[in-house]
Symmetry: C3
């Protein structure tokens, strides 16, 4: 699958990294995370340059990460600051550890997928989750792990047809009573599907979520390199955005950091107990099928997918990932995107 160089990925929540070093991985590269001087997060390749012991087996001493074998110490920049037994200046005589740029933002630790180069900072900054500072929104965070390629996990998150079938009864029905219109657009850094004509929830639920009536607005979006976003508006009163930043841990392992932000006519604390178990159930079903899909793909020696018109975003996600792999597509830049490179319309039964 795609090797995405020069991109930011989440490696853990801020609260997950304490005094002890912690293991992480991006695209198969093992990393050690630690808090160095001033509690600032650092990320090194998880291999001491001296005898290749894993630095995750070491500990943090005086704001430096100390290897468990010979006691070499490194700072967040990868500089060797101590070699026990060696007379003279260690930094001049010892080899640096490979370091990676790190950012701590919105309660997450992000690591750049290309190593730090001396004197050069990354040209982009990590993705920012929407509505976190808006007090009208309630926020819920959940992390998940799936044994899946990044591509299959993103497509699953943004795929409408499987929801009625795999998650039948949870939030769509298998009855397919309505035929709606879908508009698909692709830019160089993102792709989206707009679903027009989806019915409002019936009965009491509809009256609570959209008391003044109004239309349903539904967008599914993929933002390079690895963000899947589902946005719903019901009239003026209800707005829900689920944004999932995904980390390709290896070719066959993906970690999902989901941030759900919503504003509803009823208080968030009232909604959570009803919504969270359903969301957890949906995730379990998706994780199970993605693992089966992955295992089967490996058993047959690779993906061989077939597409129909209702696999609306799949081909565009694949195209953008491949372009990003070749360095031809940039990371998503917030804000309006101008005219799309591609647009088409289709009909789907939901």
């Amino acid at each position: 699958m795609a090797r995405l160089d020069g991109h930011w990925f989440i490696v853990c929540r801020s609260s997950d990294l304490g005094r002890a070093p912690r293991a992480a991985a991006i695209q198969g590269v093992p990393l050690v995370l630690f808090r160095g001087e001033g509690g600032q997060a650092g990320a090194l390749e998880d291999r001491c340059p001296h005898r290749n012991a894993p630095l995750t087996a070491g500990r943090v001493v005086g704001g430096q990460l100390q290897c468990a074998y010979h006691g070499w110490r490194f700072d967040q920049g990868g500089r060797c600051r101590a070699v026990p037994g060696l007379p003279g200046e260690p930094e001049a005589k010892a080899t640096r550890a490979t370091a990676y740029p790190v950012r701590e933002l919105d309660g997450f630790i992000w690591v750049h997928s290309s190593p730090s180069a001396p004197g050069a900072e990354p040209t982009t900054e990590p993705f920012r989750f929407p509505h976190l500072d808006d007090r009208r929104y309630t926020t819920v965070r959940r992390d998940f792990f799936v044994a899946s390629t990044l591509h299959a996990a993103i497509e699953n998150t943004l795929d409408v047809p499987h929801t009625a079938f795999l998650h039948g009864g949870l939030f769509r029905t298998a009855r397919k009573e309505n035929e709606i219109e879908v508009v698909v657009r692709r830019w160089s850094d993102r792709t989206e599907a707009e679903f027009i004509g989806e019915p409002r929830p019936k009965g009491l639920a509809g009256r609570i979520l959209a008391p003044q009536g109004g239309v349903v607005v539904h967008f599914d979006r993929f933002l390079l390199p690895s963000v899947a976003q589902v946005e719903y508006r019901l009239g003026d009163a209800s707005h829900l955005v689920t944004t999932t930043a995904m980390t390709p841990v290896s070719d066959f392992e993906t970690r999902l950091y989901a941030v759900v932000t919503f504003r509803l006519p009823v208080p968030g604390w009232l909604v959570k107990p009803f919504v969270m178990p359903i969301a957890a159930q949906i995730f379990r079903q998706d994780a199970r099928i993605l693992t089966m899909q992955m295992d089967n793909t490996r058993r047959f020696g690779g993906e061989r997918f077939a597409y129909t018109e209702i696999d609306v975003l799949g081909p565009h996600i694949w195209r953008l990932l491949k372009q990003a792999e070749r360095g031809e597509s940039p990371a998503y830049a917030p804000g309006p995107a101008g005219a799309p490179d591609h647009e088409h319309r289709l009909r789907m039964r939901v």
Copy 2:
């Protein structure tokens, strides 16, 4: 090992395939078996052509196999009959699943090792077990699994010298008191060894099995692609044929479907309780040594066998399998075979 295209192999007993889909494999190709319209057995590659989920995770709905991910449905021919959410005719828009020809015969389900081609049926039919309809014969069936190559499993089943040693005391002794003559013959679709001069069982057993006396007739046969047969006659009264159809599940896994048919001067129900535990013990000993042989072969990076003249059928089995692999030898066709391509005689001590 040999990849045998265009041959029939048993995948399970008829009674093993009920309402739920069932996994099988031939030569490393994962299959899903199911009973479609009218209960007719079908075999598809165990991969949905859409997103590659395993079809064994699905279920049978309305005589069609339904994928667990997006609900695509397939019939026994691999045609896609439903795509939830897709307006219009699914068969025209969706990709077929890869299907394999299937036959249900003699209580077994056979699958062809080459996929179905549109409008073309296999040119051969599966092997038929002998004496199943003859009311004078008693039939016993047993299935076994061995971690072994097909070649090593076939040779083991037809190898005489190991029986006295590995199974010492069970049906041959290690004392080697008799020297007998062996005639080895090979045709394009089979090879056989005829053992001449084997002693009749001593004492009571001999008087029961061959009350009028007479000679012992003993044939070991290999029939392409994978049938091992051992036939014994003692005088006119006793006749025993053990026919084992083997399925190469993978290069290192073989499944054995053994059918024992016999006609004896004593009733079958009287003999079974004495014979079956011995047969089970023999199989356990063979399975154990075959697994050790297989593991050791893999550890050393491949088979390196040495032959002596008493490895009578081994070289001919190997030759026929290699010829079948190259498409030069046909599946066994019942009936007399004409003059053999090869014949030689040797002496062996038993």
Copy 3:
């Protein structure tokens, strides 16, 4: 790692090989050890030449190793002495097993890493452990297994800087109060480091071990192909030599046969209970870090070591192993070695 042909390696202690065959391995080659005629130890490739069954599954009958499958029997030279069922002379008709030269010395069984050639004996003999016959010395033997390359295990055994850190407090302190001189010498069959100026143990321990005072003499030595030796003298009274002969079981597995011989002013039986638990603790710490180092090396696709001047023997061990691999360096020959090929001095803090 190095494939060292034509060298002797220990496969087990003499007392480990009884009536039953025993499995061993050198550099990934599986062996079967057994005691043949007269109790003499033999070593064959653990594969019957007939059907490749593992000979370790057989048993010793009449001083010959009998295969469990067809009962072929082999002597220590690999000659086939019996083939059940085969008329005539087995030795003429059957294939030999691959045999390896064996020596039983000093309570160990040594096997040559190149197979026996007909009519040719190895040109070297195994390494002999020092002081075993000197009644003034106490001897302790211990076997260890580490998941490590031979190279990393040897370097670890002879590495001084890690002792203060990894084994901190056990026999060196991390305080590094003394700067000493090290002389490094390399010959074609060995390399050594002489440590000059190491302080004597303080207080009571020093008075007991060196009652008349005197200097500390400390040598670390590597002797081709795989012996690591640490020698300490404290004045005239105390002398301790730890000699570890290592066996490369596979590229990633090493077995250590350590022989500790010592002569002290206090009786050996008095010292053992204090020293052995410390030695065991040191070994556990080393085995743990070596396994982590090995796993990490494999995870990153190979060793990438960095050296400083206090990695005194590491580069020379590597060079000698590589030369031995290419057949350019001979096994260690006892006795004085003449002028070294290489000598340099450096300072280290201990």
